[in-house]
């Protein structure tokens, strides 16, 4: 996906480091850095830049009571941390995502999206972003669409190609409104991805064009 993609990825990591992403995108990035040591390393660099900026930041005096209050709190045991049992299902999926799934994804509510493509919407999102899992049959492609916002797609199982590049487990494709892409599953297993979209998705081209994609699968 060329420059657009690396710039898009850089933006995502940078905004995750700063804490300014919406919840759905943050889940995607936390999953991404679980599956990619390279991305994790880049994130650590960005966080260390923020550490330096914090250290150089203009200090603002805190209430003189704060330290006293804290000194009293130090001995208190923290409220029993709700240890979420780590689900032993879907173990190949990254934990930041896995905690939203309460059954093996094979048994989830997959709905028809497109010929050869099923989707499962996940209850994640706090600012209108759409978060879903896509399952694309070998050789099939998700619809061609363009985006008003940004769409990021993390490969969890299998692989897809956007016509220029192969994306495998742990790879993220980022598309913005300039990109018309149509991820097509490669290899002989289903490709399962986590897709997060900011803003609305509109189909590219005429209705006829959309219909042709639809029937061609």
């Amino acid at each position: 996906m060329g420059e657009n993609s690396s710039e898009g990825l850089q933006n995502l990591l940078q905004q995750y480091a700063a804490g300014s992403l919406n919840h759905g995108m943050a889940v995607l990035v936390a999953s991404y850095v679980t599956l990619s040591s390279d991305a994790r390393h880049r994130l650590e660099e960005l966080e260390s830049l923020n550490g330096v900026l914090l250290n150089e930041a203009e200090p603002v005096a805190v209430s003189p009571m704060m330290l006293e209050d804290l000194q009293r709190l130090l001995d208190e045991a923290p409220a029993a941390a709700e240890e979420k049992p780590v689900e032993e299902i879907n173990e190949d999926l990254p934990l930041p995502l896995r905690q939203f799934l309460n059954q093996p994804i094979e048994n989830g509510k997959w709905r028809f999206a497109y010929p050869g493509v099923r989707q499962m919407t996940l209850p994640i999102g706090d600012r209108g972003e759409k978060v879903k899992l896509l399952k694309i049959k070998p050789g099939k492609a998700a619809p061609r669409h363009s985006h008003d916002g940004v769409e990021a797609t993390l490969v969890l199982r299998g692989a897809f190609s956007d016509g220029k590049r192969l994306f495998q487990r742990g790879d993220v494709a980022v598309a913005d409104h300039d990109v018309k892409h149509r991820p097509r599953a490669q290899g002989d297993e289903d490709c399962i991805c986590l897709a997060v979209t900011d803003g609305g998705v509109r189909f590219a081209g005429s209705i006829a064009h959309v219909a042709r994609d639809f029937f061609a699968g």
Partner: protein
Amino acid sequence: MSSQHTRPAQQKDQQPNSSVSDSMRFAFLIENIASQKDRDAFAELFAHFAPRVKGYLMRLGASNGQAEEVTQDAMLSVWRKAHLFDRKKASASTWIFTIARNRRIDVLRQQKYPELDANDPSLVPDSPAQPDDEVIAERRGEMVRAALGKLPEEQRELVRLAFYNGWSHGQLAAETNLPLGTVKSRLRLAFGRLRQELGDDI
């Protein structure tokens, strides 16, 4: 920075660069909290970081009251999570930054910030550590600081807004009244210089 503790970190105070020994000192304080619940170490960390954390939160638009609440919360997390600090992975200020960032989101959005879990079986491990990795982690902050200091002010401010405030290119352009292309090219320049200094894929 006065205290009656033995200070291994001080033996290295002869180093020409004081911020390196500051950074080592802060790491040492966090480790002391972890190993012996050292309250003086906590007070010293608090004196340096609490006002900076508060400044960070207010820069991001928190009111004085919210900033106080989240700062107190974050500093309490520093005490409680000290055992998770690993100076090989992050400097003290980076570690405290991530705590403040996460607490800000937890408190203000009432939502847990999604984070990777080091014990996640699906975690793809790092390639085997290079012999100088530790040194790099220890000095990384200093290198970043030096590299930032060499940027012209206009680029440095954009870097602050992009990285610290987490603004997208579009937001940067809208807020600074600069054309999008100018924002992108200035950031690319700044980034190129940082990368040159750090010799890394930042």
